[in-house]
Symmetry: C2
Subunit: 325 residues, 2 copies
């Protein structure tokens, strides 16, 4: 099978939204009236973003999910994507499973695959995603204001917990491992929550590098600081599975520094608490209030007495850390 047969067999379906999809030099898209287009690119590399033996169906889902998460963080409606794929060899069972996972995620969000590229090379997946948001309604990172509440969706630290277990650094029972492994390998992009937060949230970012690092981006771009409480971690709102063997410090690390959760972190004025609850209910997504934006710069993590926890936290960096060695 050659390159063009591969594209035709696994990566071509009729487009419903594009004027012109796969099969010409370019794909063609037309924007809806009164919208702006939101664009994001993510590259996934074997050994860095996923294990070589990961289930290819899940990998196909995740490759699109991490891009959908970027649209979600802007409040955008997904529309289309391109896929560039480097593959070590023409492995048909792998392609069958990978493309099935990709299409399943695409259909769940009514997306078209409109173009891309395939080549031989070390396994590398690059997706560029396109969404739309009504003009002036995109939720950006720079909109947080002093006094705003800080929220996170879902639970944090699960993906990192799974990674630690898969690397043999901590032990989890089979059931607990399977639960957190699903969160690592198949994150849920919070697309509906993102859209529901248009006009409600003052800023938003998706959590790919960990709460500490990603909140840092919001604070820098907003010119603000923040205080994060930790009661919600003690109350078991942080991780999917309460792992008895883990102490508070370990949980705090997972929640603050664990990457790959693809939950949303967002801020909203205190007067909008009811609107936030409605948005969460409408999108059937749990959200937890975790802190507050402050005029004072810097990011402070507080214990239950309101004292600053004086210890270092780190953010994931794709050049200094290998998550999947």
């Amino acid at each position: 099978m050659g390159e063009f047969d591969l594209i035709s067999k696994y990566f071509t379906k009729p487009s419903s939204r594009a004027l012109l999809g796969v099969g010409d030099d370019c794909a063609m898209l037309e924007s809806s009236q009164g919208t702006v287009q939101c664009i994001s690119s993510d590259m996934l590399v074997e050994g860095r973003h996923f294990f070589a033996n990961v289930d290819p169906f899940r990998l196909g889902q995740k490759a699109l999910a991490v891009n959908l998460s970027d649209l979600a963080a802007c409040g955008a409606t997904p529309k289309a994507f391109t896929l560039a794929l480097a593959l070590p060899s023409m492995d048909e069972p792998w392609l069958q499973a990978f493309s099935s996972g990709l299409w399943q995620m695409a259909q769940e969000h009514s997306m078209d695959l409109i173009g891309g590229d395939t080549t031989q090379g070390p396994l590398c997946i690059c997706i560029t995603i396109f969404g739309e948001v009504p003009r002036g309604q995109a939720i950006l990172r720079g909109g947080a204001r002093a006094g705003d509440d800080i929220y996170v969706s879902g639970t944090l630290g699960d993906a990192k917990l799974a990674l630690e277990a898969l690397l043999g650094r901590i032990h989890l029972g089979a059931d607990a491992l399977e639960r957190v492994r699903t969160r690592l390998e198949l994150p849920t992009p919070r697309v509906h929550l993102g859209q529901a937060l248009r006009g409600v949230a003052s800023s938003c970012i998706d959590l790919s590098d960990g709460l500490f690092g990603d909140l840092g981006h919001v604070l820098r771009q907003s010119g603000m600081g923040a205080e994060i409480s930790t009661d919600w971690i003690r109350q078991g709102l942080a991780l999917t599975e309460d792992v008895a063997a883990l102490d508070f410090e370990a949980k705090l690390d997972l929640v603050m520094c664990g990457g790959d959760d693809y939950e949303l972190l967002f801020t909203a004025p205190a007067r909008a608490r009811e609107l936030v609850s409605e948005a969460a209910a409408r999108s059937q997504t749990g959200v937890t209030r975790v802190g507050q934006i402050t005029q004072e710069l810097g990011l402070r993590v507080l214990d239950r007495q309101g004292r600053v926890i004086d210890r270092p936290f780190s953010s994931f960096d794709h050049f200094s850390q290998a998550h999947h060695p």
Copy 2:
């Protein structure tokens, strides 16, 4: 230096065309009135699309040039691009040179870098490019009609000739090698010609896999056949450098099957010959008439007596051939 410093130091400049560029979850673009957006993605992998020791400045230029070539083939005006980059290590001199080449090509075509991703991994460059074309004026592959003339821009086979010389399969003098090597490492995207051909050309494709294979795409999508004459090859219109040591058969192979030239192949009705000449002159790009579209399916290469040359031609396939072993 971390991932975010890298992006900030090498890949961030103020955007003039985007509503929002690098630094949020998504970039934001707004389409001009009455236009459709043209989108294309290309992935370049070390060892497959370029040699490991290639000049990184030229590589930066080429990575964008091959994408610009796809816009050119649709007659689109370049607007913006995203860059996803996997790098084995934080090699600052390499990044400095690569990003300088990329910016030079971007500025030449008034393009903004609006987003992307960086990660550690085997060297892999994925660019997604965005252009605009007035609604209804994109030049597609499927518009060739019986009797249309077939044209190519510039010269063909130079890139393949350089590759053969660099691989030690043929000998070229130092001057000749440098000329064709420049064509391999720094192709000229025919952006101005593509735009000048709006309303003139009936179909267009860029030559990345070779004349034989790429014309095949046009014929399939147009439901037509073609006859290609070879006089222009004998007349020395084919290759940049007339290499005395090469016989006609070798030149024919280079011209028909050599990939990586990034010239345009296009068709136009015979009555439009003057308009084609004007478009070529306006864009300061040489074009050569090389054959004719036929009702009869199939692609026939004719000798100077008009007889079919009965020998196989091949098209480049990224899975069955390694251009840069």
